[in-house]
């Protein structure tokens, strides 16, 4: 049994933690929060110099050519400090879509840009409120021209490139959909920043008006490719969520030990102790599920869809509980703009919604159970 990260990977985690403690300044986070900057550009540059953006990108495309376990370790640390950078959109979604579906030409043109921090990318799926279903996609790709409207696109203002889920056929079912690759500097792209629940990770509306675009992957495979990308992103994002949840537990613990009421540290009251114990339990369950997801991701295992759904649900629940109850533990202080509590609360909601809501992932998980039971 070897169900843990290796010593090298743990060393990488320590290095990443120290690096981010040094480079990810709370002040810069506040600047992004207040909307004065789209993302923390200094941190983004530092991260790209570390090579993290190309962790799993092959060396031939300018990446580090490491494995997904290394990327999981980095994701956890980025989540811990709420790094206000478009890392998840670029690395978990855009680069993964390229790796999954890109032609050699598309990969050699764009992966090096991602790996060196010169290309921010995203994945544009949803077109408004409600679930993303094959039927809900009205954006059309025809003769290499893309038209439609995408809301809400994560890091949509920051991105230079987007992978867009678009209709290429008349069928309303999955086979009518394909992925399109777009340079967002192209003529006919209009976008605006939207107010987001977590302004440290902004969203945009992007309108495509007869925009130059190319097919990414085979025609009619858009939905299944997207599902594959989402499964992989779910594992990586689970590690971000666990990093965030762990930070919340740490903050709540420190606060409860320092804060005195009724003549003693509030950390000595069972109402607080049991609350923090529950956060700990949820975090450990999530961590264990995420480890299994990491194994499935790094070995491309048959179990990946089930493992990804479990990691996603468990980590979403853990971060939600941790962010909510950490804020509660802080009392009135936790509800002030100055406190970081609301930043974690906001991020927990943003990540919970980023790849589709829990309901959808739970349904997917049970579908996988039905399949594995049938065979």
């Amino acid at each position: 049994m070897n169900f843990d990260f290796s010593d090298e990977q743990k060393l990488l985690r320590e290095q990443a933690r120290k690096f981010l403690a040094d480079k990810s300044s709370p002040d810069a986070r506040r600047v992004v929060l207040e909307g004065k900057q789209g993302h923390d550009a200094a941190l983004w540059n530092a991260i790209s110099e570390m090579g993290w953006l190309g962790t799993v990108i092959p060396e031939t495309h300018g990446g580090l050519g490491l494995g997904y376990l290394e990327l999981c370790v980095i994701a956890e640390e980025l989540g811990r400090v709420l790094a206000p950078v478009p890392f998840s959109s670029t690395v978990y979604l855009f680069a993964e879509a390229l790796l999954a579906a890109g032609s050699e030409g598309q990969k050699s043109r764009l992966l090096a840009k991602v790996a060196t921090g010169k290309g921010i990318g995203t994945l544009a799926r949803a077109e408004g409120p409600g679930a993303v279903t094959p039927k809900s996609i009205r954006t059309v790709l025809r003769n290499d021209r893309l038209s439609g409207r995408k809301v809400a696109v994560p890091d949509g203002m920051e991105a230079q490139f987007a992978v867009v889920l678009a209709r290429t056929g008349e069928e309303t079912a999955e086979r009518g959909l394909s992925l399109a690759l777009v340079d967002l500097a192209s003529h006919g792209v209009r976008r605006r920043v939207l107010d987001s629940i977590d302004p440290t990770r902004k969203h945009a509306e992007i309108v495509f008006d007869n925009v130059d675009a190319e097919l990414l992957g085979p025609m009619g495979e858009g939905w299944s490719l997207m599902r594959r990308v989402l499964d992989r992103a779910a594992v990586l994002m689970a590690f971000e969520q666990i990093g965030g949840a762990d930070a919340c537990l740490h903050m709540a613990r420190e606060f409860a030990l320092d804060r005195y009421a009724f003549g003693r540290a509030i950390a000595s009251f069972q109402a607080i102790k049991h609350k923090l114990a529950d956060i700990y339990v949820a975090n450990e369950l999530a961590r264990s599920n995420a480890y299994f997801g990491a194994w499935a991701l790094s070995t491309d295992a048959r179990e990946l869809p089930l493992a990804a759904a479990a990691a996603r649900i468990s980590a979403t629940q853990a971060f939600n509980i941790a962010a909510k109850e950490s804020t509660q533990t802080h009392g009135g202080v936790g509800f002030t703009w100055e406190s970081d509590c609301h930043l974690y609360l906001r991020r927990s909601a943003a990540l919970a919604l980023a790849l589709g809501p829990q309901r959808v992932w739970k349904d997917r998980l049970v579908r996988e159970l039905e399949l594995s039971n049938a065979t």
């Binding site: 049994m1 070897n2 169900f3 843990d4 990260f5 290796s6 376990l69 537990l249 613990r253 409860a256 030990l257 003693r264 540290a265 950390a267 000595s268 009251f269 069972q270 607080i272 102790k273 049991h274 923090l276 114990a277 529950d278 700990y280 339990v281 450990e284 369950l285 999530a286 961590r287 264990s288 599920n289 480890y291 299994f292 990491a294 194994w295 790094s298 759904a309 479990a310 649900i313 468990s314 629940q317 309901r359 992932w361 739970k362 349904d363 998980l365 049970v366 159970l369 039905e370 039971n373």
Partner: protein, 409 residues
């Protein structure tokens, strides 16, 4: 990251498997569901225990001198995994003795006492129980009132114990009693062991809310225990008890209640109709199944993390402490949900209920699981204090002589 044995583990597994094949029959796929089968008797269980003891497999981590194998915790896990594939009687009756009582004896008893008791316990010839909890001392076990009074080279014991698993078939018991009522509660305790056949010991089974009777009340009336059967110094009983309780958490935390899980709920939902069609197609049902699945899977992979630490020769991390807390409430919620799915037939039980009543019996046993071996509340305190390092609650009784404390009901 992988789930493979190391070379040494793999060869141990092969060795164990070969030995098991020589001494037992492999389970067939239908065996698990065969609830009508005749349960193994205590004699069967003792015989299997003795067979294991001959090879050192009865307690793999114990030193060879004590009848163990001198092996690692990982080897014990491997043995358990392989043994579970064979149709052998459960060693349940010996778990408390070998898991808690005998390790305490080995730490505190005189050489000749150890020589006298360890091997018979190991071979299943003598069964032990643990006599700690009392009607007025459950979670706060140090508040116990059973009195042991010195009388020459012996002690006279009067009082009552409760929740004693297996007392009715035990030969010996580990007894925590109060020897000084004027000292604060933790400081007036002393540990003993005694024959359960001693004059003045009366055992009465307790019928549980679930209908079963695994626990007992044990009454002591002028029971005489030789001073040679005292473990540790007079007044040091609490320190000795901590050794026992540390072993209890290792034993209880490992599992329990795992017989009813998502797999059974899936099977139920597959075969039932609800208002809008098959239960398994209902969105609410699917959501709940997913919720419990991630808890079960989370626990399973937490165990894998613990095993990894053991396999690397490290101490397991604190994550091992969450198991019982999660298992017990999951069982309670999952079973209650299954009853709802069954509709009005959910109100039936046993063979009259759907699925042989497994959800009803799970639902009825869950409250006990949330209490036994550390209540949910105590487990949360343990996580908060030992894992998260939060301060203990205020202890108003800590430095007060025991006989000046208010007794309550």
């Amino acid at each position: 990251m992988d789930f493979e044995d190391t070379d040494a583990e793999a060869s141990f597994r092969t060795e164990v498997c070969a030995w098991l094949s020589r001494h037992a029959r492999q389970k067939q796929s239908g065996d698990v569901a065969d609830i009508a089968a005749v349960p193994p008797t205590m004699d069967d269980a003792r015989a299997w225990q003795a067979t294991k003891a001959e090879r050192g497999y009865a307690r793999i981590t114990w030193p060879k001198e004590a009848g163990g194998l001198g092996g690692s915790p990982m080897q014990q896990i491997i043995f358990n995994q392989e043994e579970a594939k064979f149709d052998v009687p459960s060693g349940h009756a010996f778990a408390i003795g070998l898991g808690m009582c005998i390790p305490t004896l080995m730490a505190y008893a005189a050489r000749e006492m150890i020589d006298r008791h360890v091997k018979p316990a190991l071979r299943g010839e003598e069964i032990w129980c643990q006599l700690f909890s009392e009607p007025a001392a459950g979670s706060d076990v140090a508040g116990l009132r059973t009195r042991a009074q010195r009388d020459g080279d012996a002690w006279i014991v009067n009082g009552q114990k409760i929740w004693t698993s297996g007392a009715h078939y035990s030969d010996y018991g580990l007894l925590l009693a109060r020897t000084d009522f004027s000292a604060p509660k933790h400081k007036g305790l002393t540990m003993f062991f005694l024959s359960m056949k001693s004059h003045g010991v009366e055992i009465r089974p307790i019928r549980q809310a679930s209908g079963g009777a695994n626990f007992n009340e044990v009454f002591f009336t002028d029971v005489r225990i030789p001073d040679a059967q005292r473990l540790g110094e007079v007044g040091q009983g609490w320190t000795v008890a901590l050794t026992t309780l540390m072993h209890e958490r290792l034993a209880v935390g490992g599992g329990g209640g795992g017989m009813l899980d998502v797999k059974e709920l899936l099977a139920l939902a597959r075969n039932l109709e609800v208002e809008d069609g098959p239960a398994l197609k209902n969105a609410v049902v699917r959501e709940r199944i997913a919720d419990w699945y991630v808890r079960s899977a989370g626990l399973k992979y937490t165990t894998y993390r613990t095993m990894t630490a053991l396999s690397r020769g490290q101490q397991p991390g604190p994550e091992a402490s969450i198991a019982k807390l999660v298992v017990a409430s999951k069982l309670q919620d999952l079973a209650a949900f299954a009853l709802e799915l069954e509709g009005e037939s959910g109100a039936l039980a046993g063979e009259d209920a759907p699925e042989h009543g497994i959800f009803q019996s799970g639902w009825l046993s869950a409250p006990g699981l949330r209490i036994a071996g550390g209540t949910d509340e105590i487990l949360r305190n343990i996580i908060a204090e030992r894992v998260l390092g939060l301060p203990q609650d205020v202890r108003v009784d800590k430095d007060v002589p025991f006989n000046e404390l208010p007794g309550g009901r």
